[in-house]
């Protein structure tokens, strides 16, 4: 097989739009109210990506030109994620107005201008009805491929309060994109708050693990068998031990959740995908090979740069341990099939 040349970059970020950028997309009421109150951005944005942290300090400015030069120079398509932080805006109507404005801004400033970009829908995850309303409003635009949910949530995502969001996502052929970060009324971890960014970023692994557990155990995939979930910026190598735990405990206690009728690891391989930046790879290639073997699927991992964020980890490390066929899946086919990108790029019609 030839060296694979096609790529889809499954996690690229635009900087969240400050209020000035959203003015054209907000009503007069919200423009005046937010200006009068000195609002610029939801505080979740700074919490998730502190401007001078290692992940951000040397990050290039994100513009269409920098994305074209540094992302689309190697990728045919990219998924553009706007980590806006609407979950941290407690005022439901303000949060909804901002998410609507952010999505209109995404369309006008990014998707309309660059057809190789696809977007994730910003929603208000803590108000299901408003989230569903927004999904229905923009979900018909085929350039949106998923609903963006921060991994830090108000309740674990298996909770029934979220189910209408999942139903709306399926109705519009959208995946869920659960992304690192978020700011809610709960501590950063179940054992309490954390003191520094190193802890905040590292501890997110347990949040992803908790969301995987909750979605499976609460029966979300039994209720919605076609639901697809991408874990974005979740890290990768933690997954196998969690699968072992899930399967072991399920055999012992599955009577509590009789709707889960097969091994939880089978649900994970069927319904979940992961972006591979960060990868959190061990030092030895052989160890990475073993981890991939334990994940047990060539379809789960998707290439991502997480542009413009800077990581100690490198998704290209993965290429060294993959066969040419696996490389092709990782770089292109897995994301193309998961999001149906090529089919979307034909049918996408800029509004």
């Amino acid at each position: 097989l030839p060296e694979p040349t096609r790529r889809i970059d499954a996690d690229v970020h635009c900087a969240p739009p400050p209020l000035e950028a959203l003015h054209p997309y907000l009503t007069a009421h919200w423009n005046d109210y937010l200006t009068a109150n000195g609002f610029s951005l939801p505080s979740a944005v700074v919490q998730t990506y502190p401007p001078r942290s290692a992940v951000m300090a040397n990050a290039p400015a994100v513009t269409l030109d920098s994305i074209r030069a540094k992302v689309l120079d190697r990728a045919q398509y990219a998924i553009l994620n706007c980590h806006y932080g609407a979950e941290g805006v407690r005022h439901p109507y303000m949060a909804a107005a901002l998410s609507t404005a952010a999505n209109n801004w995404l369309k006008a400033e990014w998707l309309d201008k660059e057809e190789r970009l696809f977007g994730s829908i910003v929603v208000v995850p803590h108000d299901t009805e408003l989230a569903v309303q927004e999904i229905k409003r923009v979900g018909g635009d085929r350039r949106f491929v998923q609903v963006y949910l921060p991994v830090r949530s108000w309740e674990p995502y298996g909770n029934r309060r979220y189910w209408p969001i999942y139903e709306a996502a399926i109705d519009h052929d959208l995946a869920l994109g659960i992304h690192y970060g978020g700011l809610t009324g709960t501590p950063a971890t179940p054992v309490g708050g954390l003191d520094n960014y190193f802890e905040e970023y590292t501890a997110s692994t347990q949040l992803f693990a908790s969301q995987v557990l909750s979605l499976i155990a609460e029966g979300v995939f039994d209720k919605y068998p076609s639901l697809r979930v991408c874990l974005i910026e979740s890290g990768v190598t933690w997954l196998p031990t969690w699968l072992w735990k899930l399967d072991t405990e399920w055999k012992a206690t599955r009577r509590e959740i009789p709707w889960v009728r097969t091994l939880p690891s089978e649900y994970v391989r069927k319904h979940f995908r992961m972006t591979a930046q960060p990868l959190d790879a061990p030092e030895q290639e052989q160890d990475l090979r073993e981890v991939l073997g334990h994940i047990g699927s060539d379809s789960m991992l998707m290439y991502a740069s997480d542009f413009p964020h800077q990581h100690a980890s490198d998704p290209e490390q993965l290429l060294k341990v993959l066969s040419p066929a696996q490389q092709e899946q990782f770089l292109f086919s897995n994301a193309n099939e998961f999001y149906g990108l090529r089919e979307r790029s034909k049918s996408a019609t800029p509004a």
């Binding site: 609460e218 029966g219 979300v220 039994d222 209720k223 072991t248 399920w250 055999k251 012992a252 206690t253 599955r254 009577r255 009789p258 709707w259 009728r261 091994l263």
Partner: protein
């Protein structure tokens, strides 16, 4: 296939769970409301004694929040890690073809039947041979008999 006499049937009353050694094997014997079951006594997971397991009904579901429960006790849950096995077939709930326990036919037969049987000559009327390893059989009682493939 030799048949081993476990003992008088009234030693294994309804609700009883016990282990017996016959033919060099450890066998778990259960009486569920008068129905007898015998399985190899070793859980295929980590070797726990199966006879100590909990008898329970079957639970299934058609979706979240739906509990289809059959209270008839047709499963034994291993006492160590909760794996469920069908009492009649020995098959596990979660992986019936690969994780399973050998079941043994168990029956109640009259002392008369057992005592009259002559292993030396055999008999068309009576399957056997019976092996009463540790006690004499009296014709007045009924006995629990397990059939063990060698």
């Amino acid at each position: 296939m030799p048949k081993y006499v476990i003992g008088p049937v009234n030693e294994t009353p309804p609700g009883a769970k016990r282990d017996v050694r016959v033919g060099g094997l450890s066998i778990a014997v259960f009486n569920v409301d008068g129905a007898f079951y015998a399985l190899n006594n070793r859980c295929p997971h980590q070797g726990a004694p199966l006879f100590k397991g909990t008898l329970c009904g079957r639970i299934d579901s058609t979706g979240p929040g739906e509990y289809e429960y059959d209270p008839q006790k047709t499963l034994v849950r291993c006492v160590w890690h909760g794996w469920e096995f069908d009492l009649a077939t020995g098959k596990s709930w979660f992986d019936p073809e690969r994780k399973r326990i050998k079941p043994y036919p168990v029956s109640v037969e009259s002392g008369e039947t057992i005592a009259e049987h002559d292993p030396a000559t055999g008999s068309a009327r009576i399957p056997g041979p019976y092996v009463a390893e540790t006690f004499p059989v009296s014709v007045e009682d009924d006995y629990l008999v397990v059939e063990v493939a060698k």
